[in-house]
Symmetry: C2
Subunit: 246 residues, 2 copies
């Protein structure tokens, strides 16, 4: 048996999310079925980030144990062959020690959220970004975002269904920048609460539109109440960019 | 009657191309039907670049005459409303003089071609880039590309169905650059022959793979014979970026 670490890209529009569910195809299931077709083994694929339906990944990390003697490049190419036509691709597959755990060993997860800030509807970016019509001020969004960096009780930025034991998380960085007509929000933490990134983005949108100030963001954080924060941004604009290990 | 200049974005995957055809929906038809729903007029939309099926646009330019008294922003919003759910968006609509012609007045057209250069299949970029597995050397591609810049008889880089009277075109610039795992090819000319950009890209791919030299590109050009140039790159990676006017 060899444990392989996989880097995975996918288009979240076509899936009910990372994790297996009864109501449709998940990325995990697509990978596990492709692995079965490759080696006939019912291997469980463990992912670092359980992305929701519609959320994309450029650098999801997962691990899986395979009995069939294989090198990483063969595992990558074989899984990719059997994944077709699902929009999932294994970018790299690398043999690792049996103690490596994609989820529990992760020390940082990086997400990017993409807003297209214009009046016209999305055409090429349908399902791949959040369309915000009112002009956003990226600089004031960035300034307000710094109120969320560090260790906080993020109860206000947590979906009702969140299963984490503690609402306390440590945000390493949260950067907002304008790139032409796009607003890019880059965020990093060891781990996140359910919908935390999307609620932070929805809150910062209020700031960018001039409806909220940085102080309003601090107040929302201190309230420890989901109702005090902004809307939950749609999954379309969210990308799991990468996962870091020691 | 007012003539409006439109800037248009679209996802080429969903269309038979820019121009009206009997075998499916074109961008032109989608726009004309939306305009009819807005003002009840059978107005002909004239585009600057007749992109093929599968080719995208971030900055196509078109013009159309509308009798109903309207300002540009209303025209833009109304067309966009009636375009749904087609992946076409009017980014700007601007009243111009009745002598403006989107196609005949254009002094430059800019295209970008995107190659994803990696072993793994496309996931998020399906239909939006050309996947090339072998490693490409962008620097030698760029060097060889310079052999095509300037005024030449581009008969070798012209589809059999091309209707242009003369095969002589003047390429203003052709730049190849690597951006991470992507190769971006930016090209500008007053006008192009049918499939010219895609055949130039297919030819430069041979150079990037080390199978052709810059001299081979010059020879292909001098042969004035389609069979002497490289493959026609797929439409997926091609984007009409913008059109310039005096």
């Amino acid at each position: 048996m060899t444990r392989f670490r996989l880097t995975v890209e996918y288009d979240g529009r076509h899936f009910v999310g990372w994790q297996r569910q009864d109501n449709g195809m998940s990325v995990q299931q697509a990978l596990e079925e492709a692995i079965f077709k490759f080696c006939g083994e019912n291997a469980a694929v463990q992912g670092a980030g359980r992305t929701d339906a519609g959320v994309h990944a450029l650098g999801q990390v997962a691990h899986v144990d395979i009995d069939k003697p294989s090198v990483g490049d063969t595992v990558r190419d074989a899984i990719n062959f059997h994944l077709r036509p699902w929009p999932v691709a294994v970018l790299t597959a690398q043999a690792v020690g049996p103690q490596f755990h994609a989820r529990f060993d992760a020390v940082a997860r990086r997400y990017r959220y993409r807003i297209v800030n214009r009046r016209a509807p999305l055409a090429l970016e349908q399902g791949r970004a959040w369309l915000v019509n009112l002009p956003l001020d990226a600089d004031v969004m960035h300034e307000a975002a710094q109120r969320l960096v560090g260790q906080h009780d993020f109860s206000s930025f947590r979906a009702a269904m969140c299963q984490a034991k503690s609402p306390v998380k440590t945000l390493s960085s949260l950067n907002v920048a304008r790139r032409g007509g796009d607003i890019e929000i880059d965020v990093e933490a060891r781990s996140f609460l359910h919908n935390q990134v999307r609620i932070m983005v929805g809150t910062l949108k209020h700031v960018g539109e001039g409806r909220w100030t940085a102080d309003d963001v601090s107040e929302a954080l201190e309230a420890k109440d989901r109702a005090a924060a902004g809307v939950t941004a749609p999954p379309d604009g969210l990308y799991l960019m990468g996962v870091e290990y020691p």
